[in-house]
């Protein structure tokens, strides 16, 4: 079983990947988790809603997610991107089934109604933010769908115990799903893998991740953190590889990539 995390772009690269996924899903159970941050910002602009990014205390850039933003993310991520991916995979012959984390409580997240951020160098408390961290995965639902031949496509909008829809980080949501199912996690990105001073590091173990962290930029830092969480909680292997080439999945499984394991 493989969980594949992809971005939110619907360009040619994901069309290549869809064909590969449909092919490989004939002999290997696959779950796709997707993002959608870029398109969310674009559609927000078109709807006249200004996007505010905040920086978390340990330096991660995060979208300030008020209620209106949650609804825009429902439209862009749970709506357009999720269903366009379903369409793409159905066209490639896989019986794709799209879900947001709110559906059937696939992703349960604890919502923090106030989070600490850094703004203009000052530490601040931000309220009414619908952001959270995935705390549990409905693996019975996912397993049931896989056994019936469906290919789940999951959007990282989770639900809180109080019933609020919450924005969660796609990489970490994919890590939570992979570890709950003891599945490998493949994270597609736009570089060959984790680069240390420009050179691809092909293998990392849990102990080396903290050190690697120092050499990574924001985006890669998040992926290394997600990889660490995945492996600590039960995923056998995490692969970080390039998504924008002809056979991205084949390459990720056997070619040029960073493999992280215990």
């Amino acid at each position: 079983m493989i969980v594949i995390k992809i971005g939110g772009s619907l360009g040619t690269e994901v069309q290549n990947l869809a064909k590969e996924i449909a092919e490989i899903s004939k002999k290997e159970k696959i779950i796709v988790v997707h993002g959608g941050s870029y398109e969310t910002t674009e559609i927000s602009k078109r709807l006249g809603k200004e996007t505010k990014f905040v920086t978390s205390v340990s330096g991660f850039r995060s979208r300030y997610t008020d209620l209106e933003t949650v609804q825009i993310m429902e439209m862009v991520m749970a709506g357009k991107i999720n269903k366009e991916l379903v369409k793409l995979l159905q066209k490639s012959g896989a019986n794709a089934l799209g879900l947001s984390g709110a559906d059937g409580k696939v992703l349960l997240a604890k919502r923090k109604d106030s989070i600490k951020i850094i703004e203009d160098g000052k530490k601040k408390i931000l309220k009414d933010d619908f952001t959270g961290k995935v705390e549990s995965v409905n693996k019975d639902l996912i397993t049931m769908l896989l056994e019936k031949g469906y290919l789940p496509i999951i959007c990282p909008l989770a639900i809180s115990p109080e019933g609020d829809i919450v924005n969660t980080d796609g990489d970490r949501a994919a890590a939570a799903i992979a570890s709950s199912l003891s599945a490998d996690l493949v994270v597609m990105t736009n570089v060959d893998g984790f680069l240390k001073e420009g050179k691809l590091v092909t293998e990392l173990n849990l102990l080396q991740i903290d050190e690697a962290y120092q050499f990574a930029d924001g985006g890669m830092k998040k992926k290394l953190l997600a990889a660490k969480e995945a492996i600590e909680q039960g995923s056998p292997r995490v692969i970080i590889a390039r998504g924008n080439l002809d056979n991205p999945l084949e390459n990720a499984l056997n070619g040029k990539r960073t493999v992280i394991s215990r």
Partner: protein, 53 residues
């Protein structure tokens, strides 16, 4: 000037804004500015940080 809810010492804060986090100069606890007029402080929530898409 405002009183630290933890150790009751009086703290001076330069250009305070609601939502700012400040540290008590006496006991070092993190405090949240709840209102400006009057200036009221509360112990800042212990929230883990979070981020999303």
């Amino acid at each position: 000037m405002a009183e630290c809810p933890e150790c009751s010492c009086i703290i001076e804060i330069e250009n305070p804004e609601v939502g700012d986090i400040v540290e008590c100069s006496e006991c070092g606890i993190e405090l949240e500015i709840i209102s400006l007029d009057p200036l009221i402080l509360e112990i800042a929530p212990e929230e883990e940080e979070d981020w999303g898409e």
